[in-house]
């Protein structure tokens, strides 16, 4: 046996390292938390890494998981070794094909990072809802409980499917295992060869579909034989358990790691046993050890092979002494007599035990809810009760149905591992440095190492908490650290926001990145932090890492400054050795990006220790003031009771009764979260302002606003509240304008300053908006912003909506989202809600926009003073267009019903009122206002009537003002996974509006290529540069002839954007607006996110156009809104890293693709210019003289 190689990897990498070597074809599609497996497989193949048979596997992205599964089916049917990687909704999309592959007894493997299914809410986190949905497919199900097992079981899966012919689904817990970094022993090629039998492969290939020995597979069978055929494969399933057991044995022989179909840990004479599978096993085993040490006879049985369920093996694994069993399920099957594993165990033991123990079931860990040894202990306590509950939950407080067990929070597991917590920001490199630290320790010492990372759900100012453990023994602690020996706070400001020392053990060490020195920092610490330091006897060290990083030219990236300090204080490694290792790792990681990256980081490492000093902690802590959350008086109770605890990191403590039963949350709660994450915010100089509104339009977070008002509104204005005269023909003389920043909501992206065109005459550098250090101006801006908010919104009928500045006077109803600082998508949504927010229904595809749009803790879609605002929902990724059309159908139906009722009552109502309400609705402001007034009159007219028609019409009077339906999503949805549905919806002729926020990659999952990705761009899944051209969605849509289509870029042509959205809304048929959306995945300077779009348009890369169908004879529907390309497309491409990185990597390919990209531009422009001259009129029904498919042409 060769010497074992150890590596620190996460579960996804552990699985992918094996899967890639054992596959000919990997069909991939991104989905959290499995995306990394596909990314790694793609990267391995791009780097020329071969499989076990010396061939580079084909790693091919598909348009959806359904597509990937179909391709997997085709590949394995034709004799290839095939695999795919997925999770959650992706697995659901594979289900139909999974039945087929299993029914045809064809070897295949799916590696699953098990994740919750979207139900009352989406959750990207881990549980077994997805894999349990596949348990009827006929696939073998193998459950890995740790990173090492994800590596080992990947091999077992590939070997078992080839030997048994039954396809295998290998799963491990999303995040807890897929993203936990552990030290594991790597399987080498010989290990793989030892378990993969060439004869099995030969047999698989021999069964392949080939015209040389043709077969017909996939027949349709009649009632006479279908049943028998279904039973024909039974013997193969009977063999699976034995095959897996033998493979486990073979693996154990080679590696010393022994697994059974079911493994038992604990007292050999245990009376109480927990049965579970997955990562919770680690916590359970730890709890069992602690309880056994106190004399309790307990144990845990871990199910590894879940399908075919190893009933006999389970019975055999359990001690004969067992009297009570708790089966823990990490999923919920509403309405079932018990959750799946519970049912399986009941049946298995009733079949195999002479005397069946008491078997109860509990549910735990949904959506990555923590599962700790204390919870395990609580389950064992419950099993001791006279009558243990038959069904319970653990880990939450269920005060509605009372199913939850009480957990003794004092129950602790002793450990000899060093436990370290790191609080940082996503942007400061903390997570990356900690992953390196784990590798350094795990791969260069005999110590075991583990890392787990908890992220914020926002993409700007996101907080990360890293949980690291190092110790002499293997680490099974599959839960967060609550007794840290070492706590590092990489951002001083987090001390105010987060309970940084909550999880510090007594005598812990705190390392603080502080702008204040050791002798002055104490006074700057929040009082509760001071109190915890004193109470816990924490030793405190400070370093001004930002100063050191700045000195050596690292900007805000402080990771290599903080890292040596951790080693110096934690004593995990000798400091000198640690520093050498850190430097080596910096060199290994960054040398390819240039010597300067390495040298400056090395300089930072050299300076770090000398810059660190210890704080003398005073003996007495000052009085801790009671913390009062600064919520405005008008904050709703829901915000106080639910949202605020979420913001305080206390969401785990909320009971079931606090939660909406159907997942519906109030809109507009983002305004109550004052994150104050910007280091600089804009300051307005009214003397220079030209009232253009560009800053407001461009702001991704609706954090800079303008209002117009009469001078009387200035009464009571706080000091320094600024305004200027606003000239407009539409508003009274003397009207004032104020441009105001929301000082705690601005992310400091700088876009407003970049787009501001107004410069000082005296000092060119000074604009009407300049960035100023937030710390200096925020206190004064707060009362000004509050005052600004209290000024009444402008009369919507008094200002023009079809101009940039007019539209920006309207209230945004999308604000302060968690989108990236500088996001290129959100300005479109902000604009959309200004125009139509009070009458919008939004169907939002899963992706960035659904995450920044609705990921708790807060909701950015908001409402106006009248209580109206966008009503928003997310169904799925793949069905969004259909979801929106469904909304539209309901709107139309409700309209029809309301009209019928109105017609019935018409003779008793004012004819003018009836005329207004029965007229075909338009979407313009005046029509909506008129209709709403009429609805109020109608309600008054009907008040007091008690006939059923009148009462229903009053109740549903909103239906007389039909909302504007907007279908919103990214390019991954529109071009790929949802295209079939989108196409269908566009073909429907119905009045829906589709807004595609086109970032040209799957942004939310980390920048994987979509069919919107342009030629020549490097993206994940297209690491060598995408070789094919971007799909032209606009051209496809306009072929229908009755679809309004626009291609827009808000940063390049604001006016065209405003116009296109209004035309789309007004168009009575389907409309499609494709919006160029800059993204951090483009590799651009995000403060120029808007202005950069000008070169996208000037180069012809993103031509602007509108296609406005009309039945009028001689219509030219296509309007080209941008000029002929005036700069080469290379000039645009050179400014974006997604293109330029390819030139630095493979210049010949970059050059070739660059030429093709120019050819694409030339061809498209040539085509568009011809289209602009084409006459096309919608077909007209000769009988009615109306345009076919749409009721009427828009004005």
């Amino acid at each position: 046996m060769s010497e074992r190689v150890w590596a620190c990897v996460d579960g996804n990498e552990a699985a992918a390292r094996v899967a890639h070597r054992l596959s000919d074809v990997c069909a991939i599609y991104p989905i959290t938390p499995a995306s990394n497996m596909g990314e790694l497989a793609d990267a391995y193949s791009a780097a020329g890494r071969t499989n076990l048979w010396g061939v580079v596997p084909a790693v091919v992205e598909f348009q959806s998981e359904a597509g990937a599964a179909g391709a997997l089916h085709g590949a394995v049917t034709t004799g290839a070794l095939g695999t795919t990687f997925t999770a959650s909704q992706g697995l659901l999309l594979m289900l139909p094909v999974m039945y087929k592959i299993a029914g045809e007894l064809t070897p295949a493997v799916i590696h699953v990072a098990a994740r919750a299914l979207a139900t009352h809410a989406l959750s990207i986190f881990g549980d077994h809802s997805d894999v349990m949905s596949a348990r009827g497919t006929g696939w073998v199900m193998l459950s890995a409980a740790s990173v090492q097992e994800a590596h080992d079981f990947a091999l077992i899966s590939h070997a078992a499917t080839l030997r048994s012919r039954v396809p295998v689904m290998h799963f491990f817990d999303g995040f807890r295992t897929s993203h936990e970094v552990d030290k594991i022993s790597l399987l080498d090629d010989d290990d793989l060869r030892a378990l993969i039998r060439e004869s099995d492969i030969a047999a698989h290939r021999a069964r392949r579909l080939s015209p040389e020995h043709p077969q017909i597979r996939g027949t349709a069978q009649n009632p006479d034989v279908f049943f028998q055929g279904r039973e024909a494969a039974n013997t193969y399933y009977d063999e699976v358990g034995g095959i897996v057991a033998r493979l486990f044995a073979d693996l154990g022989e080679r590696t010393g790691r022994n697994y059974g179909l079911v493994d038992y840990y604990g007292d050999p004479e245990a009376e109480r046993v927990i049965v579970l599978m997955g990562s919770g096993t680690g916590a359970a085993r730890e709890a069992v050890e602690v309880l056994r040490a106190t004399g309790e006879r307990v144990g845990v049985a871990v199910v590894r092979l879940y399908r075919p369920f190893p009933s006999a093996a389970l019975a055999a694994a359990l001690p004969a002494t067992v009297k009570r069993i708790a089966v823990l399920d990490r999923c919920k099957e509403p309405g079932a007599p018990a959750d799946p594993l519970h049912l399986d165990v009941l049946k298995a033991l009733s079949d195999h035990c002479a005397e069946v123990p008491v078997i109860v079931g509990g549910r735990y860990g949904l959506g990555s809810k923590e599962f700790t040894p204390a919870m395990v202990a609580a389950v064992f306590t419950e099993l001791q009760a006279d009558k243990p509950r038959r069904h319970f939950t653990i880990g939450i407080v269920d005060d509605v149905t009372g199913h939850s067990l009480t957990v003794d929070q004092e129950f602790a597991v002793p450990t000899n591992a060093v436990q370290a917590l790191f609080y940082g920001l996503g942007s400061d490199g903390t997570v990356g440095a900690n992953k390196t630290t784990i590798k350094l320790i795990g791969e260069h010492t005999d110590l075991w190492a583990q890392g787990y990372f908890v992220y914020d759900s926002r993409k700007s100012g996101a907080v990360t908490v890293s949980h690291l453990r190092f110790g002499p023994d293997p680490i099974d602690s599959t839960y967060l650290i609550t007794q840290a020996d070492f706590v590092a706070c990489h951002q001083f400001g987090l001390l105010e926001r987060l309970p940084v020392l909550e999880s510090a053990r007594p005598g812990a060490t705190l390392l603080l990145n502080s702008p204040y020195g050791a002798d002055e920092v104490w006074e700057q610490l929040p009082a509760n932090v001071q109190a915890q330091i004193v109470a816990k006897g924490v030793s405190v060290w400070v370093i001004d890492a930002n100063r050191v990083a700045k000195e050596v030219g690292l900007g805000s990236r402080i990771n290599t400054v903080m890292q040596p300090c951790f080693f110096a204080l934690s004593g995990v490694l000798p400091v000198a050795e640690a520093i050498d290792l850190i430097k080596e790792s910096v060199t290994a990681t960054y040398a390819k990006r240039g010597a300067s990256i390495v040298s400056r980081n090395h300089a930072a490492i050299d300076l770090a220790l000398a810059a660190m000093s210890q704080v003398v902690v005073p003996e007495m802590a000052p009085q801790v003031p009671v913390s009062v959350e600064a919520l405005p008086a008008h904050a709703p109770a829901f915000v106080r009771d639910v949202v605020v605890p979420l913001l305080r990191e206390a969401g785990d403590l909320l009971p079931v009764s606090a939660m909406p039963v159907d997942g519906s949350f109030p809109s507009g709660t983002a305004q109550y979260e004052k994150r104050a994450i910007a280091t600089e915010i804009p300051v307005w100089d009214p003397d220079l302002c030209i009232d253009c509104g560009k800053c407001v339009l461009a702001c991704p977070h609706s954090a800079i606003r303008m209002k117009v008002f009469g001078p009387e509104q200035l009464a009571g204005a706080p000091e320094g509240f600024l305004s200027k005269p606003y000239a407009s023909r539409d508003l009274p003389a003397g009207t004032l304008l104020s441009v105001q920043v929301a000082p705690d909501d601005c992310t400091g992206c700088g876009i407003c300053v970049d787009v501001c065109p107004a410069r000082s005459k005296e000092q060119v550098r000074h604009k009407s908006l300049d960035l100023a250090p937030a710390i200096g101006v925020r206190p004064a801006e707060r009362p000004r912003y509050d005052f600004f908010l209290a000024i009444p919104e402008v009369d919507r009928l008094a200002v023009r909506h079809d101009t940039v500045k007019g539209s920006q006077l309207l209230q945004p109803l999308f604000e302060f989202s968690g989108a990236c600082s500088g996001c290129g998508e959100t300005p479109y949504l902000s604009l959309l809600t200004r125009l139509f927010g009070d009458r919008m229904l939004v169907a939002n595809a899963t992706g960035c926009s659904s995450i920044y749009g609705a990921n708790l803790p807060t909701t950015p879609w908001s409402k106006n003073a009248a209580g109206r605002g966008p009503a928003w929902s997310n169904s799925l990724f793949e069905d969004n267009a259909e979801f929106g059309l469904g909304m539209r159908l309901a709107v139309e139906h409700r309209w029809t019903v309301a009209q019928q009722r109105l017609a019935t009552l018409a003779s008793t109502l004012d004819p003018e009122l009836v005329a207004v309400l029965s007229a075909e609705p338009a979407t313009d402001e005046a029509d909506v206002a008129r209709r709403r007034v009429a609805v109020e009159s109608l309600k008054m007219a009907l008040a007091g009537r008690d006939d059923p028609i009148s009462t229903s019409l009053i109740a549903d009077s909103d239906d007389l003002t039909p909302p504007s339906v907007w279908i919103v999503g990214g390019d991954g949805w529109a071009y790929d996974i949802g295209f079939g549905g989108l196409d269908h919806v566009l073909a429907s002729g119905r009045n829906v509006n589709v807004l595609v926020l086109d970032t040209e990659v799957y942004s939310n999952t980390g920048g994987q290529a979509s069919k919107a990705t342009p030629r020549g761009a490097a993206a994940k899944f297209a690491t060598s540069g995408k070789g094919t051209a971007k799909k032209d969605l606009g051209l496809l849509a306009q072929a229908y002839g009755d679809v309004y289509v626009a291609q827009i870029a808000i940063g390049a042509n604001e006016m065209q954007t405003v116009r296109a959205l209004q035309e789309a809304a007004a168009w009575p048929g389907p409309s499609l607006v494709i919006a160029y959306s800059t993204c951090i995945a483009h590799g651009i300077e995000m403060s120029t996110s808007m202005s950069h779009q000008r070169s996208a348009v000037a180069s012809g890369y993103w031509p602007l156009y509108r296609v406005h169908p009309s039945p009028e004879p001689g219509t030219h529907p296509v309007s080209l809104d941008s000029k002929a390309p005036s700069i080469p497309v290379r000039e645009f491409m050179a400014a974006e890293t997604r293109f330029s990185m390819l030139a630095a990597s493979d210049p010949e390919r970059a050059e070739h693709l660059g030429q093709l990209a120019q050819a694409d531009v030339n061809e498209r422009w040539h085509y568009l210019t011809q289209l602009a001259g084409v006459e096309r009129s919608m077909a007209v029904d000769p009988e009615t003289s109306e345009a076919l498919t749409t009721p009427e042409a828009a004005s």
Binding site: F125, R593, G594, S1003, G1006, A1018
Partner: protein, 337 residues
């Protein structure tokens, strides 16, 4: 056949006409055309350490921008192997030029750190450069820094690079030194094998519409020859063992002749070649030959320095800067009243 051979930085050049850094010397194809047209040597475009760093940091910053940001994405761009960053591309050019051209290849370098100058000078030599030209310039904007400190910085750098490489080192400097003759001698004492006079800088301009500062380099004209001509003539007798290159303002055969008369070992030209194309070297060479022939010079060596400060009919003409003489030298001109 008239002998055009000259020596520059200890290298024997078949012609004193050298192509100085420009887009023409940044591509192998145009370099070959220059050689074909008869250049004695080529100076490749400067490797700017600042550009190298800027490219690296831009790449690094953008690759790192989204790391650790969300649980769903470890980052937002793939990370590749970058074997073709600016420095790699430049070194590859040096390597290919030195292998293919058959004339000396002089690599030019502009560092922005002490370590960077040495590091990249060594790399350029390793790639095959026959000599190194240090493209030194500094806009001394720090009011606390004295002239002596500025000059001291230059000298230290020359010593460091000189000690680190085993090929000749030339210095391309600007004219803005208070006592240039003294400074030139000190540079040579510090180890410079040659001086290239003078560097022309990008000078800021203003766009009167946007009011933005727009750095701009304009091509030289023959008028720009005068300043280096003077200093070549003055330094020639002072630095008999040091190579002198005249650059700036060489546009015609006459300009070439003037530079050689003043004492230049080589004459560097960029703007004329950019305007006229690489083949213009042949025309310059023919003009030079014609002059030599017409004036019965046997060689460039014989011509070189024959009108330098110590050999000129009126040495004081190099020393004076008064405008009376200049103005009155205009045809029909008159001095001020």
């Amino acid at each position: 056949m008239t002998q055009l051979t000259t020596h520059y930085l200890g290298l024997e050049l078949k012609s004193p006409i050298v192509a100085s850094p420009s887009p023409l010397t940044s591509e192998l194809s145009t370099l070959l055309r220059l050689v074909e047209a008869g250049v004695g040597a080529v100076v490749l475009p400067s490797l700017f350490e600042e550009d190298v760093e800027s490219e690296s940091w831009s790449l690094h910053d953008r690759l790192e921008a989204g790391t650790g940001l969300t649980p769903e994405a470890s980052n937002f761009l793939p990370d590749l192997d970058y074997g073709h960053l600016l420095a790699d591309r430049h070194l590859r050019l040096v390597e290919r030029a030195s292998q293919r051209l058959g004339v000396p290849v002089i690599a030019s370098l502009n560092g922005n750190s002490a370590g960077g100058w040495v590091h990249y000078a060594q790399q350029l030599v390793a790639a095959g450069a026959d000599a190194i030209e240090l493209n030194m310039y500094d806009v001394a904007i720090d009011p606390k820094q004295t002239a002596a400190e500025v000059e001291g910085g230059y000298l230290a750098l020359v010593r460091e690079v000189r000690a680190a490489v085993d090929v000749p080192v030339a210095l391309k400097v600007g004219p803005h030194f208070t006592s240039f003759a003294n400074f030139a001698l000190e540079l040579v004492a510090a180890g410079a094998d040659g001086l290239v006079l003078f560097n022309r800088f990008y000078q800021p301009d203003l766009d009167i519409e946007t009011r933005d500062v727009t750095p701009r380099l304009t091509l030289s004209t023959s008028v720009d020859l005068r300043l280096p001509l003077r200093w070549i003539a003055l330094l020639h007798p002072l630095l008999p063992k040091t190579s002198l290159a005249l650059t700036s303002g060489v546009h015609s055969g006459a300009d070439v002749v003037k530079a050689l008369l003043a004492g230049a070992d080589v004459v560097m030209t960029t703007s004329a070649l950019l305007r006229e194309g690489p083949e213009y070297v042949s025309a310059l060479t023919e003009s030079l030959i014609a002059y030599l022939t017409e004036h019965e010079y046997e060689s460039v060596a014989q011509l070189r320095g024959s009108a330098a400060h110590d050999a000129a009919t009126d040495p004081r003409a190099y020393e004076r800067a008064q405008y009376i003489k200049v103005l009155s030298s205009w045809p029909g001109g008159h001095g001020p009243h």
